[in-house]
């Protein structure tokens, strides 16, 4: 509106067409469109197109010359490894998110409890696992889990506990990948929950204390309802990231022993890049979509609701 008023009213007729184009370029919506164009191109070409393309790829045969319809899927359904991967992915993601949420919740409370002078220091220390690139820290865990030189087993041996096959045995390997994921992800929950705790008005606690609420009641009736949104959205975020996780399993166990720790991402990498069967790998990775969609819908609903509140 303002920029239109600023334009010179006297435009010579010969320059009208160029001026018309010029005015169109000056229009707010045109400028806005060009400002978002790189973003749109990037998302369309390198996110949306590949996402749709993988649907197409999943219907081709290994050499990607012949259309096989649901052939890849029926092939997968008949393989025992596939169902193992489904099971392991769900166990991995759900267990890891639950433990991350619990540890994050308690650590956030401990940090919140201490005098605010020292909080920054503790918060800084406790977020370190999140800052280190996951590939690098998983290497450290791989070395801590080393079959012959495990530093954990050295400590356990002092207490007379026999060597633990951290990555050698299927159940221990599952435990290990979840442990590393919890180690990396719990600090993120801690930071989010701490931010949520700080946003709870102190008066609510005072009012609850005056009413004679004990620690559990304050937690249940004040803290948790006030934090509910953040708890939900952090858990959903984390569920998406954990479900699609690749680095940890890839480096720690490479899916072994005998495919027992493969998740969707690592198995599709194994089939698609190392096995050279891109359509089959794409079909496997597509199985991540339903759970991602459900989580995304819930996140979106939360954002929408908050958008309406403000």
């Amino acid at each position: 509106m303002v920029d239109a008023a600023l334009e010179s009213p006297a435009i010579r007729p010969v320059a009208r067409r160029r001026a018309g184009l010029h005015r169109a370029m000056q229009r707010k919506s045109t400028i806005a469109f060009f400002m978002t164009l790189p973003l749109l191109l990037l998302i369309a070409l390198l996110v949306l197109y590949p996402a749709l393309y993988s649907l197409h790829l999943a219907t081709l045969n290994k050499s990607m010359e012949r259309f096989v319809g649901f052939g890849n899927f029926t092939f997968l359904f008949k393989r025992e490894t596939f169902w193992m991967v489904v099971q392991q992915s769900c166990i991995f993601a759900i267990t890891a998110v639950i433990f991350k949420a619990i540890i994050g919740f308690f650590v956030a409370h401990f940090v919140h409890n201490i005098p605010s002078k020292g909080q920054r220091k503790w918060r800084g220390m406790l977020l370190v696992p999140w800052v280190i690139p996951p590939a690098m820290s998983t290497l450290a865990w791989l070395w801590l889990f080393d079959p012959s030189y495990s530093a954990f087993n050295w400590i356990l041996a002092i207490f007379g506990i026999g060597p633990v096959p951290w990555t050698g045995d299927a159940y221990w390997a599952r435990f290990s990948v979840i442990l590393v994921n919890v180690w990396i992800g719990a600090p993120f929950f801690m930071i989010m929950y701490l931010a949520a705790l700080k946003s709870v008005p102190e008066q609510l606690y005072e009012a609850a204390a005056i009413d004679g609420a004990n620690w559990w009641q304050r937690m249940w009736y004040v803290t948790l309802p006030m934090m509910r949104n953040i708890i939900a959205i952090t858990a959903l975020f984390s569920l998406i990231v954990t479900f699609a996780n690749f680095d940890i399993v890839r480096i720690l166990t490479q899916g072994g022993p005998i495919d027992r720790t493969h998740v969707f991402a690592t198995w599709s990498f194994w089939l698609g890049i190392q096995g050279g069967d891109i359509p089959l790998g794409a079909s496997v990775s597509l199985f991540m979509v339903p759970i991602l969609t459900v989580a995304a819908i819930f996140i979106l609903r939360d954002i929408h609701r908050r958008g309406n509140e403000s």
Partner: protein, 304 residues
Amino acid sequence: MANVATMDAGARVSRPKYGSISHDRRWALRWSYFFLVLFAIFFLMPPVYMLITSLKTSAEISAETNPWWVYHPTLANYVELLTSPIYLTFFRNSAIVSAVVVAITMLIAVPAAFALSRMRFWGSTVLATGVFLTYLIPETLLFLPLFKMFAVFNEWTGIELINRWWVLLIIYPTLTVPFATWVMIGYFASIPKELDEAALMDGANYRQILLKVFIPVALPGLIAATIFAFTVSWAQFLYPLAFTTSADQLVLPVGIITTLIKGDVFNWGQIMTGALLGAAPPLIIYAFLMDYYIAGLTAGATKG
């Protein structure tokens, strides 16, 4: 009412309450510190163990001594890695990729966020939500179709994209731009409308409003988004693992894993040194800009 409440409380709690609250608080504080120390040990143990191992010789690593102590500290691993041309190549590739990706990210995200938050146009709210949704699409879903797309692109144009480090410059923005845009939309939306209206009245155009008003005011958000873009591109592991193979094209995380681990021979001293040096840049940035880092971390979910 107050009477009833006190009587009620008095009936249930027989012992006198005075003094016990501060007593409780003191114990709560002690327990908090106790558990914080416990969790700090858990959270800091792997990086500390990296440091311990990186200071050892191979002989000491395989010796039957206490693995948690360095008896003969040496910097030999650091000297060896920092003089090895291949490791320096990884480092250089990572540094170039991260720096350029940060620049590309900000150049795409900031104008887009400005347009989406201030210049309402047809479909802008839907688009803002769409940007956020793309952030939720994981890279593990996209690497196989992208791999195939690059192969097809090679057939059409003859330009080889697989096994070229610079292809990461094209792909990494898909990981960084949506979130950076989302964070910047949040920061821009918190700037009062009067500010840009005043600038418009003074005859500023949109470019001037963006450069002279919005960017300076939203600088903390800009720094947070920059840090985010850097740490994501520095840490990315799947794309370089899938798209680059020859040693001189690798970035740091993939380079350490594929070249320092040769078959079953693990030179753990060097691997830990390499990993620690690879973790150093994000850690250093974090140490100096912790508040911005945390602001960026919490912005994604608490704003919007």
